[in-house]
């Protein structure tokens, strides 16, 4: 299922999604991972540390009908070709391709009643990624940022964490997944390479191919010898070279620390585990996300392109959903078995849902009046279904919620107060979430 980066992920706006910014701007401060791992060991309780988040972003806008909100009683031109199946939660039905998730339904919640008014990719992405609607009208092709993203705010909040970057995005940054005014330190560290590849390595964090470790060591030694620029040690002098020194130390730590390299080393997983996640890019990224979270990374975005099913939605879903279902259910199970689910929030969503009526091309178009969002872990009560759409899935009608409620829930679970003012470098106060009301049912 190599759908994330290749040419098949064409969107309604006619362009192939270019990687917006494969920038590797991360947020590393302080000393190495080792120290952090030590801290964890000392605390003796993984629950004592702050929670992490894995955000599975289904770019394009996943259909709610063929996933978490089937409408078997709607007319045929609306209900589509799939049948509902029962889940482990009595009375809750998913669409037929979600076999694994149906079994695991007791472990996660589904919100069926988020609706908003931003029906194009650029704006919908911004609204769901940041909890704030775009300030000016933007279009499908837009890659905009008016507000810091969930991931950047989390990185900013965890600013003192040590070692690994605080916010990863794979294989690219989502359109509005950036830091906005929080600054480059809180941009995601992008890992564009495919962890399903035979010789996958995290770029820049591993030695360049062809450079032997021993030669890297001697180069490092040589660098120490030729580095003779005088530093101005007095802190009040504000010598920027001192910061660079710090970053080189951290960089060396990442490259040479066995623990850090271990987090990136997906090859150390058994074949069984790797198979269980699915031997495809998305599956292996999910596995890598689990490894990163395990190593203490607070926010990982898995960007999954190609959900803009304007045409041929049923063949596409037949092909795609089973693998996707396998990866997600494995991720939940694996996190749970490792005792990480209590401290890891898993989110699955896209920019909006899709139109009720199947169009001439056998697809569904953009529809922000209804969508389904999956949420698991970090105290989310399993088996919960929040809200409902109407009989035909046109619109959220029961317990109607907003992207602001969603973002507030995420922040609250991550220990971040959504009702706070952030300040731009110009000193302008910006409310983190304009309506800071979380979804109570999901707080647990």
């Amino acid at each position: 299922m190599n759908t994330t980066t290749n040419a098949t992920s064409r969107y309604c706006d006619g362009m192939t999604r270019r990687s917006c910014l494969q920038l590797g701007l991360g947020a590393l401060t302080g000393a190495g991972l080792t120290q952090m791992l030590q801290l964890r060991a000392e605390s003796g309780d993984s629950g004592a540390r702050k929670r992490s988040c894995i955000l599975v972003w289904l770019d394009g806008g996943p259909t709610h009908y063929e996933t978490f909100d089937p409408k078997p009683n709607a007319p045929k031109e609306i209900r589509g070709e799939f049948e509902p199946i029962s889940t482990s939660v009595p009375g809750v039905h998913f669409s037929e391709k979600l076999v694994g998730l149906a079994k695991a339904a007791g472990d996660f919640a589904v919100i069926r009643s988020i609706r908003h008014n931003q029906g194009n990719h650029g704006a919908g992405n911004h609204y769901m990624m940041t909890g704030a609607p775009p300030r000016i009208p933007v279009s499908c092709g837009a890659f905009v940022s008016f507000h810091p993203s969930l991931g950047s705010v989390t990185a900013h909040d965890r600013g003192e964490s040590r070692g690994l970057p605080l916010y990863f995005s794979m294989p690219r940054m989502s359109r509005s997944g950036g830091p906005n005014f929080l600054g480059a330190r809180y941009a995601p560290f992008v890992v564009p390479d495919d962890p399903n590849g035979k010789d996958f390595r995290v770029r820049d964090v591993a030695l360049p191919k062809g450079l032997a470790e021993i030669r890297f060591g001697s180069r490092r030694e040589l660098r120490g010898l030729v580095d003779k620029l005088k530093r101005i040690d007095d802190k009040t002098a504000g010598d920027p070279v001192l910061a660079l020194d710090d970053y080189y130390r951290q960089g060396y730590n990442l490259v040479t620390s066995p623990q850090a390299q271990k987090a990136f080393n997906i090859h150390s997983e058994s074949d069984k585990v790797r198979e269980s996640y699915g031997r495809n890019s998305f599956g292996q990224r999910a596995l890598l996300a689990r490894r990163l979270v395990e190593a203490g990374v607070p926010f990982v975005t898995l960007y999954e392109g190609g959900w803009d099913h304007h045409g041929g939605i049923f063949p596409a879903c037949r092909k795609r959903l089973p693998k996707w279902d396998q990866t997600l259910s494995t991720l939940l199970e694996d996190l749970s078995e490792r005792g990480l689910l209590d401290s890891t929030l898993v989110l699955v969503l896209g920019e909006f849902g899709r139109t009720p009526k199947i169009n001439k091309g056998g697809g569904r178009d953009h529809w922000s009046n209804a969508m389904s969002v999956m949420m698991a872990g970090a105290g989310t009560p399993g088996g919960t279904v929040v809200g409902a759409t109407d009989r035909a899935g046109y619109s959220a009608v029961d317990r109607v919620l907003s992207p602001e409620n969603f973002a507030s829930t995420v922040y609250t679970k991550l220990g971040i107060n959504p009702d706070q003012a952030l300040y731009t470098p110009q000193g302008r106060p910006v409310h983190l979430v304009s309506d800071p009301t979380p979804i109570q049912e999901l707080l647990g």
Partner: protein
Amino acid sequence: MAAAVEQAILVSAAAVAYTHDAEAAQAPRSYIPTMRRSLLTSALLLATVGVVPAGAAEAAVPIDFERDILPIFTRFGCNSGSCHGKQAGQNGFKLSLLAFDAEFDFDALTKEGRGRRIFVVDPERSLLLSKPSGRNPHGGGRRIEPGGPEYQRLLGWIRAGMPRRTPDAASLVKITVKPEQEILALKGTRQIEVTAHYSDGTKRNVTRYAQFQSNEAGIAAVSEDGIVQAQGICGEAAIMARYMGQIAVFRPTMPLPGDVPASVYDELPRKNFIDGLVWKKLQRLRITPSQGCSDEKYLRRVYIDIIGRVPTSEEARKFLNDPKPDRRERLVNGLLEQPEYAEHWANKWADLLRPNPYRVGIKAVLNYDAWVRRAFRKNMPYDQFVRELVAARGSTYRNGAVTLFRDRRDPGERTMIVSQLFLGIRLECAKCHHHPFEIWAQEDFYSFAAYFAKVSRKGTGLSPPISGSEEVFFSSPGTGTLKHPRTGATLAPRPLFGSAPKLDGETDPREALADWITSKDNPFFAKVMVNRVWADLMGRGLVEPVDDLRATNPPTNPELLAALAADFQKADFDIKSLVRRITASHVYALSSLPGPRNVQDTHHYSRHYRQRLRAEVMLDAISGITGISESFSGMPPDSRAKELWTTRIGSLFLDAFGRPDPNQDPPCERTPDTTVVQSLHLMNSANLYKKVTSDTGWAAELAGSKRKPEEIVEQLYLAIYSRTPDSQERVIGRGVFQKKGITRRQAAEDLMWALINTPEFVFKD
């Protein structure tokens, strides 16, 4: 409109000086204007300072809504931008931001909320009293003391029937602070007193109701009660006091302890007026400057600053072997004539002007970029450059400058970019409400915007992601007006201050606007540009942020800024002569290493401030050193990073090193920070590794030559550090080549890699 007018504007300008310097970036939260003050402290202050308005004293004078009630809301943060003052209000109760709209606030209190906010029959049960005093649950907690002076005053106002205006109520004319200037000890403190002056000649001490902000909290912080505390670092700060839209500034100076004989300053070199003005400032602060820098450092600085790359080994050797005393001057003159000068400076302006081509259109942006580059190639005088932009007309297919208007599509957007870029006046706040920290009102904003009201367009507008069509901009007849969004009043074009040429209804009003902007009587125009250039060359602007000129954000050396601006005007806005002037000063050529009396100086140019190389400069330097040019999509082979026409051309390197991202709003931010991603990229990126180890690269060429290891070492030092190695470094370098198991080629590569990975390469020192 000479200096006096400017002074008047600056002095009456109001602003919370939110600074934006390196410290602020590291700890943005410390710059939060705190609204909460401990009630206890306030009470103490009340007792010690003897504030007039309280209980009994007030009873005699009728309570006036604007004079007596509104200041309470500002004082306790009720109408702040993070509470009821924000766009959507808070919990259904909205006040105007910092009380800029008294009418609105009066209605919000007395007419909305179904009369619950004010409960006339039982005033003490009014939400206006019960919530902020903590008797009823209040999201903002307890803000005023039950029964305290503010409580009593609000109660008295309700009992008096909530008068909107009392007859003959005096209006606020201005505020003053005492003292205005003072020399403080390094850890000295000073209480500021704020006095309000009213139209009837009365005065009140309003210290308790004023808000305070320091532009340099690291140098002198100010408490919420107006107590200034110097932080133990020598320097200067501006402390702003704000009260009901009026501002006044206190400027404390904290010199370094100990005396420095005047002769020390008298004997410093003075190559041009810059030096004398900097020395004068240093003398006031009793700071002494660093030594002059070496020729090697000077060489590297001017190459980076003027043409945006480091010198090649040949260029370096040629200059360093030049024995003539005027070698620096000739070097600068030569660099200013190189084609790379235009590309480098156009690249800087691209940061400020160039939009996202996927939104504005590839052809329009390509033409815009080409127009900027052509202007710098021709060395177009800066006033003409600005005039051609501000009054641009024609097709986006023919006149690149007109893309400014395709990008900024309404008069409001045009007002913001034009005022900020070319005047250093930030008007964006005044678009929606009275500028909270400035004198600018919505009326000023829309009167200025009215200059753009007659700009018409024909053709296809924006249709992202392609937006490829042609659009033509022209001026319709008439002088143009805009409506005030709140009052509905019709506003004719009017400049922000001073006077502009009269409009005749035929000529494009933008011509008159351009006349006014670029006039030699308009001090802001030259100042913001010289400040930009100064900041680029010196590592810090005389004003920071560079395009934020206002009384509450004063220059660190006002005389120097004025002198540079005057000099730039005298040279008819010739940018090259400005660059020549700065690089010829002794101040530019100071060492970065501190002497005994200037290690703490980060503002007054007593030493050179180190800067990380810009993304494009560093990438071009690396391509030059390794001999392997970068391959950019959609650009001819061997293109340099500084020649890219859009930042949408992919480059992991340029992204890692903080080139601006046009998808952001605002789009022109470039980040000068260093990050670990940068060090990782230099250390490990596949791209850099390939460049260093390429068979056709410079390391391979050096290794394959007949040169002795010593010569290779020297070549590498010259190309990467712009200097020759000292004897110890020669030994180290030779050692690399003698190491067992390492080929000559590997030795050259390793040394190249090591040198590129050190701060001596990464920084302009």
